[in-house]
Symmetry: C2
Subunit: 218 residues, 2 copies
């Protein structure tokens, strides 16, 4: 058998980048925030309560004073994302701006959430199968409602003749949501562009496209 570097039967000590356990006062919020980072990096199933506790400089037992169980942490992460997302979008949709203006603002809003809540966002789109019971169903519904806002803005624009009918509203929605959600995979605050600048480019791209207008020949 070949000695292989990668599977050196590790007693599984440090999984890479875990922080040196700063001792912060424990709270539900702190637990949820720390867990979000770990879930985002390693996945819900591969993150133990011991790891979460260690990162907070506490022990597993202490966590249970603040949370009900592991899934409870996950639920709080989902609620965090939803509360940050839903209301602003509803306001944009209900405003009296033009469809193009609305769509632009909606994209900027969504991209901002994706960029700011990065770990929670990653978890949001990854760990849904680990939610159980009525809460799981509720999330599905609220996610659909959220998407529906985008669809409606686009349909509104199509009805007004400012958006092309060649692109289905649902498909367009999935497309631009994917564009924004993907941010949480690569965006890092230190980079060459702010998330506002990136969002603006996305808007420009989705609305006017990348092709320059053909030169007018007369």
């Amino acid at each position: 058998m070949v000695a292989d570097e990668s599977s050196a039967r590790s007693p599984q000590k440090n999984t890479g980048r875990s922080k040196p356990a700063r001792r912060v006062r424990l709270s539900q919020k702190a637990i949820v925030a720390a867990a979000a980072e770990l879930f985002a990096r390693n996945g819900f199933g591969a993150t133990s309560l011991d790891e979460i506790a260690e990162r907070l400089g506490a022990t597993k037992g202490a966590l249970y004073y603040h949370i009900k169980n592991k899934e409870d942490i996950l639920r709080h992460i989902y609620l965090t994302v939803l509360t940050a997302s839903e209301e602003p979008l509803a306001e944009i949709a209900a405003s009296s701006a033009s469809p193009a203006e609305k769509l632009g603002r909606a994209i900027i809003h969504h991209a901002t959430v994706a960029a700011n809540r990065s770990p929670a966002m990653t978890v949001f789109y990854r760990e849904h199968p680990h939610l159980t019971g009525p809460f799981a169903r509720e999330i599905v519904v609220r996610k659909k409602v959220y998407e529906r806002y985008f669809e409606q803005i686009i349909e509104e624009g199509q009805a007004a003749g400012v958006f092309t009918r060649e692109i289905d509203a649902k498909i367009a929605t999935f497309g631009l949501l994917g564009m924004c959600n993907w941010l949480s995979q690569w965006y890092q605050p230190g980079g060459p562009y702010t998330h506002q600048q990136i969002a603006a480019m996305f808007v420009r791209m989705v609305e006017q496209g990348m092709l320059t207008p053909p030169a007018i020949t007369e």
Copy 2:
């Protein structure tokens, strides 16, 4: 309740959607395919070798004749995705088509891979932290090379004046890769559009944008 022959009195409770263990001849390929589906649904860390074996109608021990260890399965999934992705894109990039034509074909190619290899694709963008050693680094490199093709096509178009310079080539790449990758989150073969149709709409959206040209007033 339907009498299920294959799992008569299994002490193992059925975890929801697992298939009734069709007894297929075990092979590396079969293991990797089954694992990809399970990893995609529940995550690498939350999927046990028992589950993979059960779905194949075999026992955990038998897997080890075909694979080195759990991470080895993950490695094969990554290779599957890369071999399906890299070469066709390289050919498109090297072709003599126009930048707009190339970009269109590249998007269609990528969307097709995302739609067809759905479970493997989902795993590909999710489970990278569970790869270790040189292989993990190799994947990062090859992923970057892959993205670089898109960037180059866009830069080429910008240099030729057919793509706008208002959108950074890197950002545009991330945007449209996100759009395509998101497919694996929602696309289902039975839906109202084929993946070709969806890809075509994406191309239309990215190239010309959603806004209809303003009416010419004289």
